[in-house]
């Protein structure tokens, strides 16, 4: 009856809120284009296939951390038998030397905040502070 105005206000409010991502993306001019990564040029081959790295790199990194920190085992044997030093800074970041153009691109896009950088540092930042 005379609450109709109130109910319709609530309904419109709900419809506005539930479709909020549509308006938000419209306002920020978002397109469905994924982020473009700056891939390393020096090395052509990673420690695992791209597919695996894309989906499971976090699992590998945390296994590496546990192996190094808890078992003092620093050797990683890749699927093709090649040996690598288990190190974020010395192995991963040697080729992927640009955190902002590589790591952060996807992490910011997907809203993932890994806590690698609570201990590790971005080598680019060190160089900048030196120079």
């Amino acid at each position: 009856m005379r609450d109709r105005g109130l109910i319709f206000t609530g309904l419109v409010l709900f419809l506005g809120l539930i479709t909020f991502p549509v308006w938000y993306n419209l306002a920020s001019g978002t397109s469905s284009k994924p982020p473009e990564l700056k891939l390393p040029t020096a090395e052509k081959q990673c420690v695992a296939p791209t597919e695996t790295m894309r989906m499971s790199h976090m699992e590998m990194l945390i296994t590496w951390r546990d192996q190094v920190v808890r078992q003092n085992d620093r050797t990683y044997v890749a699927a093709d038998g090649k040996r690598y030093d288990m190190s974020l800074t010395n192995t991963c970041l040697k080729c992927h030397d640009n955190k902002a153009e590589f790591c952060d691109k996807c992490h910011d896009y997907a809203g993932v905040k890994p806590y690698c950088w609570d201990c590790h540092i971005d080598p680019k930042l060190v160089q900048r502070s030196k120079g």
Binding site: M1, L11, L15, P21, T30, S32, P34, M55, L61, A110
Partner: protein, 330 residues
């Protein structure tokens, strides 16, 4: 039996989406057509039902309260149980919507030796419902990271708090554990007690199995089988910007997750899940108990043809007089 049927239905839905994408390559159907259709059905169906409710007249207050209504100044009023002001109603509604107060009053009845019927408190349903609904809200809000670019700071903050314990990588979300535990408890509650099992219908189990499937497929993707979330975000952003894309990196398990969500959305307006908007429109909760302070006149009262005592006396004046009965007019 109804539990089994609804479990089977959900399993068929899961297989349909999985093999629809994995074998029949119906990615466009499951990733674009069905989501748009489901969202349209959800929004239109929900709006339709709420508008229909809004047009249902509620002319009078229904004071089905368990508190003292406003009376003489020396009688203490139950301000939240039987509010007489808009502010009091707001408090009662807030407690109902946010904390499920009426579930808190849930009781259990037991027949003991004697025979003696005893009633006791039963807060587990309330706790399970509270845990499920709040974690569902947090999970819903966390998922906004897939639908908004750039990701709002509040969504990131919520994910940070949810992953506070930093267990593993990707970080374990506490809400993922809680929602599964709560849903399993709510299912267990229906199956355990013969009385509750007797009154449980297909729809009661269907909603639970659907939500379990939804949460389960999400958990499976995040912690076990892995999914390419950049590709998934591409798909999600494509949906909300109306420029759909189906990246080839998206696996069939994601389509199971999405399809179960679509089924939930499309099913929502026609099911008991409408208690979500319905709780706001419960006449026994959202109307102040001010019957004794205000006169509520039924607005569609039509003029009724009445025959008053004066008219009646006029009509039978002579007969009443002859019988020697007293008359008002003399």
């Amino acid at each position: 039996m109804s539990a089994l049927y609804s479990l089977l239905t959900v399993l068929v839905l899961i297989l349909l989406a999985y093999f629809g994408v994995a074998s029949a390559h119906l990615g466009v159907l499951f990733g674009t057509v069905i989501p748009f259709a489901a969202i349209a059905v959800f929004l239109a169906g929900l709006a339709y039902r709420v508008v229909k409710w809004a047009n249902t007249p509620v002319p009078f207050r229904i004071p089905s309260t368990c508190g003292q209504q406003k009376s003489l100044p020396w009688i203490k009023q139950g301000r939240l149980e039987s509010p007489s002001t808009a502010l009091g109603v707001l408090g009662r509604m807030a407690l109902e919507v946010l904390l499920f107060r009426s579930l808190f009053r849930n009781t259990k009845a037991e027949l003991r030796d004697g025979p003696r019927l005893v009633y006791g408190e039963n807060k587990w349903l309330w706790l399970g419902a509270l845990a499920f609904h709040w974690t569902f809200l947090v999970i819903f809000l966390r998922h906004l990271r897939f639908f908004m670019e750039p990701v709002p700071r509040l969504v990131n903050l919520l994910a940070d708090v949810d992953g506070f314990f930093q267990v593993g990588a990707p970080v374990l979300y506490v809400t993922d554990l809680v929602i599964l535990a709560a849903l399993l408890y709510l299912l267990f509650r229906r199956l355990r007690d013969p009385q509750i099992r007797y009154i449980s219908l297909f729809t009661d189990y269907f909603a639970l199995f659907l939500l379990l499937g939804l949460a389960g497929s999400g958990v499976l993707m995040r912690y076990f089988t892995r999914a390419d979330i950049v590709a998934i975000k591409e798909l999600a952003i494509g949906l909300v910007t109306f420029s759909p894309v189906i990246p080839k990196e998206v696996g069939p398990l994601f389509f199971v997750h999405l399809f179960l969500l679509c089924v939930l959305l499309a099913y929502f307006p026609f099911s008991k899940l409408m208690h979500a908007p319905g709780v706001f429109l419960s006449p026994t909760r959202n109307l102040a108990n001010n019957n004794r302070m205000k006169r509520h006149v039924n607005p569609w009262d039509y003029p009724v043809k009445v025959h008053t005592y004066a008219e009646w006396e006029e009509e039978f004046h002579d007969k009443i007089k002859a019988a020697g009965l007293p008359l008002d007019r003399e």
